[in-house]
Symmetry: C2
Subunit: 407 residues, 2 copies
Amino acid sequence: MSSRGVRHDSMRARNLAVVLATIHRSGPHTRAELAERTGLTKTTVSSLVADLIEAGVVSESGAVQKGERGRPGVAVSLSGRRVAALGLEINIDYLAACVVDLTRTVRLRRTRPADNRNSDPAAILDGLRVLAKEITAEAEAGGLRVIGAALAVPGTVEGEVLRSAPHLGWRDVRVPDLVDLPFEIDNEANLAALGELWFGSRESDFLYVSGEIGIGAGLVVDGAVFRGTYGLAGELGHVVVVPDGPACRCGGRGCLEVYAGQDTLLGALGSAGSAGSGGSADAADPAGAAGLVGSTGSVGELVARLEAGDPEAVRTCERAGHALGVALTSAVHLLDPGLIVLGGIYAPLYRWLEGPVSEGLGARLAQMRGTPPALVVSGTGPDAAVLGAAGSVIQRIIADPAQLLGL
Amino acid sequence: MSSRGVRHDSMRARNLAVVLATIHRSGPHTRAELAERTGLTKTTVSSLVADLIEAGVVSESGAVQKGERGRPGVAVSLSGRRVAALGLEINIDYLAACVVDLTRTVRLRRTRPADNRNSDPAAILDGLRVLAKEITAEAEAGGLRVIGAALAVPGTVEGEVLRSAPHLGWRDVRVPDLVDLPFEIDNEANLAALGELWFGSRESDFLYVSGEIGIGAGLVVDGAVFRGTYGLAGELGHVVVVPDGPACRCGGRGCLEVYAGQDTLLGALGSAGSAGSGGSADAADPAGAAGLVGSTGSVGELVARLEAGDPEAVRTCERAGHALGVALTSAVHLLDPGLIVLGGIYAPLYRWLEGPVSEGLGARLAQMRGTPPALVVSGTGPDAAVLGAAGSVIQRIIADPAQLLGL
């Protein structure tokens, strides 16, 4: 509840959002249908639609006649032709960017493989600025107006400060505006969860588990990410699995990351992890893990070994699955998710993880909850975070289109 | 965002709420101050205040002059004289009821010690119905109008069904309306967290830990309880502390409850738990655990042993504290609370728990979060849940006073 009363000048901005949300949620509508659905008069709706057309967020798309009495009306739809958003991502082994239009269609994607472990923030941020400038120019050359940007980072974020990204080796890095646009940063697991919401499973209640070099999670409840008090919620990778287990780089012991992080899983290959595996997306990746993002070669190699029945690889994956089952039991008791979505490198490894994870959840949760939350594989692949970043900018426009009109 | 546009007939209900929320948040105000703070005209404010007076939620309380130019105005304040709410609680070893007025002053409290373990739901609910009728009649004889009721239960709730309350031995119990009033039920840890919010620490962001025969938790973020997808969030008692630890009655292994539940703690006394300890509130309770609620005698006995340095009691409490430190580490990583409040029987045991819990949180969290959330003792004592139940009814009236006017 806002502390301000509803006055007539704020009603217009709010009603613009109500009309746009109606079109966004249930597709093209005539002005008459919009009036009926929103409870606003036809005159008001016509005037609001005129503003939305001017802002470039809706367009008229020909006559429709769906059960409406009288003559057909002209349908008003969300427009993907003008307004767009920029998504950016810094991950351990790549930089990524994408441009998404208002209908959440991906228009452009770029990836730069890189080794960002223990890196110099200024150099990485400069590289990302160049990538952002290039992709924005290309989008604008195509007639799009990029109206905001968001950046996904593999660490904890407070405001515009990246507090701690242990795998990058960054601590308390103030991230400058990388583009001359409204700009914000957020944790990659939160944004990947939103990517899954808008570009993947499209369920409205789930816990997205981001299996990467670090393990994060983003809880979506009724279509919104739960962030906790300081925006630090969802650090699944440091849930305690074995209280006196091996030391974790977070300073704790026996955290999930020690048993199920990418470095541990790839350790089964006798490699030191994915750093330096570099290179471009592996076109031959048998499990479909390679998409926008490159350097999943080592994960592809692990999948190949698993398919060949390599006992060391199978054992490591089972151990990771059991640990994941324990950590997710605690997460289900505390967070009560509607569904569990395994993403990141857990997507290509799903076939081998699903058994031990489901078994653990079933044995520990069945009596208290009847059926434990279902376990599914992510529908977005490795692009989830950068897509979620762009999608979150689109979401803000849809929630408040008046900002494009300077209301 | 509601799917309905803002029309003028819903504006009045919304503006009544805006004016009442302003008075509720920042105390008595003149009509002129209310106009200034809400952005509404003085004429509108005067008309809204007249409605709120008619509904019995505010009253005029004499002239004030605080920095206002011109003649003093008449202050409008929240009224505790008419509207009130009924809180009810079924716990393992007692039934409780209270009546709270709109200013959240506790007007009446009643407790009936009982042994509700493995009990017949119908018999217990009948007993509670009698208690509710008696206390409501007494409140109404005193001029109060009880406008709604809420019931706290030690188990998981979906709608009006108590899904599972293992310590009561109840499963899938449909709770009928116990009073001829708007009525609802909720988990005791959620309501205890709200009790702490409104009647205890009054912080707006914290994790309330309810140490009872079962251990629950309620997360308050920005003044509201986080409930998860099905309202089952916050089951701290079943967070896994040791994956292959002793069996828990939930069907899992090594849950927090096994190490730090009331039965385990009182086991140090060589007793079978608190069942049958019955009787009225222990006036001699040295740690202030006895308030509204009785049968904390055994906890009093444990406190006495701890004060005398009994090694078995000290060891049990240390073990519970270490387990609580592990489970709370996982909870902090997943939920990101602003503060941790130890309530229920952990309040009188705080002196002995604080060390091991803080030590565990510090060692495991310091590197990732700088300072772990502070640990404090509850300000409400054993009444938290029943007070929170009544308070939640009051909260709904303040959020929507129009319901009292039939708008």
